[in-house]
Subunit: 227 residues, 2 copies
Amino acid sequence: MMMVRKSKGLGERHQKILDFIASYQREYKHPPSIREIGEHCDISSTSVVNYYLDQLEKSGNIERDRKISRGVRLTGSSASPSGDMFRVPMVGVIQAGEPIHVPSSADFSSFTPEDSVEIAMSLMPAKEKGKELFALQVQGESMIDAMVNDGDIVILKPTQDARNGDMVAVWLSDRNETTLKFFFKEKDKFRLQPANPTMKPIYIDRNESLEIKGKVVMVIRKVERYN
Amino acid sequence: MMMVRKSKGLGERHQKILDFIASYQREYKHPPSIREIGEHCDISSTSVVNYYLDQLEKSGNIERDRKISRGVRLTGSSASPSGDMFRVPMVGVIQAGEPIHVPSSADFSSFTPEDSVEIAMSLMPAKEKGKELFALQVQGESMIDAMVNDGDIVILKPTQDARNGDMVAVWLSDRNETTLKFFFKEKDKFRLQPANPTMKPIYIDRNESLEIKGKVVMVIRKVERYN
DNA sequence: ATGATAACCGAACGCCTGTTCTGTGTCAAG
DNA sequence: CTTGACACAGAACAGGCGTTCGGTTATCAT
């Protein structure tokens, strides 16, 4: 029986090992041992597995913590994406006619994973990586001037004050309205600028009530069918 | 008999162990050994660590693969979120004036992690969990009728044909225009419906060229400052 | 006091694992 | 044919690591 080597880069056995490590890690949340790799990739000797692992390390596909049990990890493009993500509790809906419910810090510790949204760290603006975020599902089409549609998920950071240019969720109790706008404080009034550049801003007198409920940090839209 | 223990569920030592496991896992991509937990949590005996681990397992905070090295993993809310996510290559920009570049399958295997977007599985519509997705960054404000703004990230699934109601990225070579619209095939023409319900559809004759480049499955907007 | 119990420590046992060393068969170049 | 690289197998060694067991201490209810 001849061994036909894959002239270039990785042979199919290398690939099989890489795939096995990935799937094993996904299932058990820890890397496989050398012997486990051998069993599942039809390699009868641990030394051969070690042999391949050395090659994969040299070619940069994996890293190894020598001497440490199960000290293999995928790197680069073979790696399961960094895995750095965090969960944001989905605490309710946001719609024009009702004030939004900002969760208290007590709520943060006891939300159910089912009603939460997972976001990759790499997607997050650097500054907002704290834990104090919450998500709301947009209901109705009243936020289209904010480029936000029915069903979209808005991720907010609770805050009472905003800097000019921040996109905020505000409750205008005089008008009985929740809205998402870019916020600007001007001499004697507030300017709320829609995200859609073709639309005009609205102005709020200082004596009108304006409650900033949170700062919008991200909008996610799962595009479903149009109905 | 009452317990003088830290009144509630977990003592601070339990919490310290949980935190250590989480941070260790993040750093090394594999769980710590019992002895490593002991060292970093000021516990001198492996049996004590085991003692705490048993409690954490009973209280549901961790799971253990008995007998195997480093077989601890966090569960539930202590867990780093499921970790199930995937990487989508960011292959370029999408703007009104230029056709979009759909990557070939060759491109998929060799994209750099730097230019990619990570998405949590849980965010993805069930059907689209295949690997054949790519992302484009929106350039310019020409897509506002699709509720998509400058800087937004659009995630597409490459396809040449669409079903009615799908949101598609199309290239209209007669008009030299790329656009995102909901797609409907009608008797003798195509109707391209903007996502913004206040805007009117455009109609494309069957003899006009219409190239479907992909189906939009998700839109992500990182909300930065307004400038 | 007494006993029960939670919270530890240290050591020992033995499987789990990574490492290393010797050896075998194949293939291509010299 | 010889040589050397390459791709393996198998066994053995040593340290890593989970488990277990006998002890100790402090607190609290009886």
